[in-house]
């Protein structure tokens, strides 16, 4: 256990040092956050106060939808970038010969990636509320519950992206395709009820739909854990199924890459 914590500390420290020594990246992210929020703020003003999807104002609706969507996609992207960068620089092979098991290494690396993306999400939501006056009504425990399950699901998505990169070396293209579909179908910009019935049915089997909906209810409507039980149960169900599947997929793809000698191909 102490060894695992020691490794986690080393990975966090590595990523923190890299981020500190790459300050321009942080500034660009911050500018991007404010630009995006301003665009959504004026879009919601242009549409007018009459449009209240799911009974809430449009700007907070967009704020949560895009914030959670970005968190998911950026988490997957962080995994993908980590694998791609490690393949390109040759660190992947070296890491795979260390005494740390590959699966443990991926999970520990994910903590760091998620910490960064979670901070981005919190900054995004905080700026939306503090600067652009988004109206919120928070239920703390429901927020924690949704966030916990969302983290597990984002972890599964990230591991799946890493698996695709190791297996096919085309992770970016697949993530872009997948991300576009998620953006369109998961209720990020508009309620899924406005989709044609077949697409709505597809939207209802996408985990992100429940993460976005759950976060809106907990953060904007102040719904309790009890009131959100069906949404939380759906998120838990997805998490229990998808995380072991993603880990098994990664393990298999790493094994195949070692068998075929394609571990460092990109």
């Amino acid at each position: 256990m102490s060894s695992t914590l020691d490794k986690l500390r080393a990975i966090l420290w590595r990523d923190l040092l890299t981020a500190i020594r790459h300050r321009s990246g942080f500034v660009v992210t911050l500018v991007g956050v404010f630009t995006e929020l301003a665009a959504f703020y004026f879009l919601s003003r242009a549409i007018g106060p009459g449009f209240r999807p799911d009974g809430v104002e449009y700007f907070p609706f967009l704020l949560v939808g895009t914030g959670v969507y970005t968190f998911f996609v950026m988490s997957a992207q962080a995994f993908l970038s980590a694998v791609q960068e490690a393949q390109q620089t040759g660190t992947l092979e070296v890491l795979m010969t260390s005494s740390t098991a590959p699966t443990e290494l991926v999970i520990l690396s994910s903590v760091s990636a998620f910490t960064g993306n979670l901070v981005n999400l919190l900054v995004y939501l905080f700026a939306g509320v503090a600067v652009f006056r988004a109206a919120i009504h928070v239920n703390f425990f429901a927020c924690v519950a949704v966030l916990t399950f969302s983290l597990v699901l984002a972890l599964a998505l990230g591991i799946a992206a890493a698996t695709l990169q190791v297996a096919f070396q085309k992770g970016s293209a697949l993530l872009w395709l997948f991300g576009s579909g998620l953006w369109f179908l998961s209720g990020t910009m508009f309620p899924i009820q406005t989709l044609p019935r077949p697409l709505e049915l597809i939207a209802r089997v996408i985990p992100l739909t429940y993460a976005v909906d759950g976060t809106r209810r907990a953060l904007l409507e102040g719904q309790s854990v009890k009131a959100m039980a069906p949404t939380l149960a759906a998120l838990a169900g997805f998490a229990v199924v998808l995380l072991p599947l993603a880990l098994a997929g990664l393990s298999l793809s790493l094994r195949r890459a070692r068998q075929n000698g394609t571990l460092s191909f990109y």
Binding site: V94, T97, S99
Partner: protein, 216 residues
Amino acid sequence: MLLGPNGSGKTTALKLISTLLLPDAGAVRVGGFDARRDAGEVRRQVGIAVATERSFFPRLSARENLEFFATLDEVPRPERAHRIQQVLCDTGLEEKADTLVMKFSSGMYQRLGIARALVKRPSALLLDEPTRSLDAATTAHFWTTIRALAAQQTTVLLATHNFAEATAVADRVLLLHRGQLLANRPLTVGESAEALRAFYFRTTGEIDETSIIGNL
């Protein structure tokens, strides 16, 4: 010492031993552990310095990179700083220890790769053309380090096509050619690079163009 021309299978052999590749057939054992079934145990035993130059985190210093990899290699925390300092000295990098590795030259990267392989104090050390980008003084110092490690019961498997290096540090030569092991014999005391070179060309059947030019 794994000796062989480009494409003979030296790097592939090292990757198989370090579990980076899995064998299609046959078995690889390190310290009694099977590389396929007990990959974790094998990785604990093996340290590898690959020929890839840039297998480091560029915005970390040499010391920070070594600390990171030493942690993942489960080097005990109280020993870490001392061991890192020692391998930095062994590879002549102590003055560059706190320089970001993005500013390193090819030779410095190579030295850092060797330092990384040494820091876990592996029972089997795999080195892929370790002196390819090193200057003469660093190469000589490195050979001394390798001989000292071998004297401390560390198995060192070094892949090269450099006959001088082979005779300087090896006590046994494995001659690889087109994926086949053509010879596995000890080096005789005082065997020269020229004698080994002659043995190599005699065994592989390749033509030694240098000797032809010399005879002209």
